[in-house]
Symmetry: C2
Subunit: 337 residues, 2 copies
């Protein structure tokens, strides 16, 4: 089947291609009967406008790039759902780019984004540097960063939809200070060092204000298996902290299992909080306390912001930083009020 074009339709309907173009684009200056004639020709031939040609003619691709690190795919599924749904509503196509250590560096991704002439970019705040943002900005590509706060915002004109992890950690630690608990550990998650660093800063700030120094930033290998092994060994000679804060479910679970085997009682001997929520936390025994973020909404809001920037940047000029709230979910690994 020969690729059929606007010319074929024009010939079939016995009009010029300009008229066909008009009915495709819902231009209302076309007479009803010729519109129908054209529609029928389109139907008959199975014509579908070539988005590439449209893109070239309009200098607008109606596609948006999403960039995220490959490892975080499973975790960011809901944010992605939010992004996709809103993109769909506004009729944008999505180009997906992943970064991973070995295969694709951020630089290559940026290269292909620029070449693709996408209308805008959504970046997950986990894998790029300010310099890379600047390149995108140089090519005037509207972008919004989703997830956490952009630390050191040099580049203008970039949206940011984020959870303030620094504040979250700060407030959380202070609450425990009030309960008289100061032996607190924060477990590193290597998958998202930018969020980790913000959490760490929050904890440090809280300690500092009380005239103490925060020393228990714990870092070990990223897999569940090795976390578990490490902790099992560790507990032979050490006691767990009074409060252990992890970023992800798997780390909290590793801690739980290791405690169980070492016969530490939760939440009596030690309390655990996973910052990020996940359905598995509810399935564990004991169920694990965490924070609830509106992931899906975060994605939806980010995409909506971007679409607004694309349509009329001035309108959102001063509203490009949107903070997302969160709530603590008390489950069985922490002492209730």
């Amino acid at each position: 089947m020969k690729r059929i074009t606007i010319y074929d339709v024009a010939k079939e309907a016995d009009v010029s291609l300009a008229t066909v173009s008009r009915v495709i684009n819902d231009s209302n200056v076309v007479r009803e009967d010729t519109r129908i004639r054209v529609q029928e020709a389109i139907e008959k031939l199975g014509y579908k406008p070539n988005a590439i040609a449209q893109g070239l003619a309009l200098s607008k691709t109606t596609t948006i790039s999403i960039v995220m690190s490959e490892k975080l795919f499973a975790y960011n599924a809901k944010i992605l759902n939010g992004l996709m749904d809103v993109a769909k509503i506004y009729n944008y196509n999505i180009m997906l780019h992943t970064t991973s250590k070995g295969i694709s560096k951020m630089q290559d991704v940026i290269e292909s984004i620029i070449k693709s002439r996408v209308d805008g970019v959504i970046l997950f705040n986990d894998n790029f540097s300010e310099e890379e943002l600047e390149v995108l900005h140089l090519y005037q590509i509207p972008m919004v960063v989703v997830g956490s706060k952009i630390e050191d915002k040099k580049v203008g004109n970039v949206g940011n939809v984020y959870v303030d992890f620094e504040k979250l950690a700060y407030e959380l630690v202070n609450e425990y200070f009030e309960k008289g608990i100061t032996d607190i550990s924060l477990v590193e998650d290597k998958l998202n060092l930018s969020m980790m660093s913000q959490l760490r800063h929050g904890v440090e700030r809280a300690f500092k204000e009380k005239g103490m120094e925060f020393k228990k930033y714990v870092s070990y290998d990223e897999t569940y298996r090795s976390s578990y092994d490490f902790l099992s060994e560790y507990f032979k000679t050490h006691k767990p902290s009074e409060l252990v804060i992890t970023f992800r479910d798997s780390q909290a679970i590793a801690f739980l299992n290791a405690c169980n085997e070492a016969h530490y009682q939760i939440p009596q001997d030690t309390q655990v909080i996973s910052i990020l929520d996940d359905k598995y936390l509810r399935m564990m025994r004991p169920t694990i306390s965490s924070f609830n973020f509106p992931d899906y909404d975060m994605g939806a809001i980010a995409m909506r912001l971007l679409t607004k920037m694309l349509v009329n940047d001035d309108e959102v000029k001063d509203n490009k930083d949107i903070e997302i709230g969160y709530t603590f979910i008390q489950r069985q690994t922490t002492q209730p009020e």
Copy 2:
């Protein structure tokens, strides 16, 4: 910054645009010194070829569409990783399309795929009908279906990289028959009904061959919470089957927790297997038996197959069906040999 084009580069390097095009595309018929001159002009101006224009000129977009249902995002992360990595190697861009009940129907997705003039499509076998495949085929878009077997392959020229779930279920059930266990339940997973139906057929075939009828196809609401509630209630009046097969981790975990609360011993009173593996199965106590599939490889193989089809379809003409193996992983919820 004005969008700079191939003309700008040509002028800067004092050559014709044809020459610039040649150095961009590594045509080897260009003299070394002019190549260098052009390269420098490209550098200096920060020129990036417009992929849209290239696509139009070549009738080739070097992008591939991936279609999957929104709900399965988190679960298919590894397959997606495999797909993305290989796509990257062959320099294909990825367009991501998701289907979800409310917002985007498969039909719309197909529409936008055709308009985008992508070079090929990867479909997860979970959300389309044969008719929809036919539309794609009508527009001559090469495609490969990944995940499970295409049941009733009417359309030609489509690749299929799959796990044979029918066989898996059949063999699994037969093994338990040999151990004298015939009280077997299969728990439905609504997220992927096509795979469920294949599993079911396998179980039914095994039963039928022994002159029995399979009656315990269990179906309840899809969330963990409701599974758990259902089972807790159920166990007040019923005993669990000797063997319970679930598709996903969360269903197995729900069963585990409900058994625990009803004081049924695993694997003495009842054994559990989750077909799909997931790291959480290892974190549970007891750890849950499952099957191991090379997810990442499946994605990688599927994408490689598609790229081959794009380059030279004849070469792979008779090798478009690729079955992926699996192995059983014995953990604590089943009796060892």
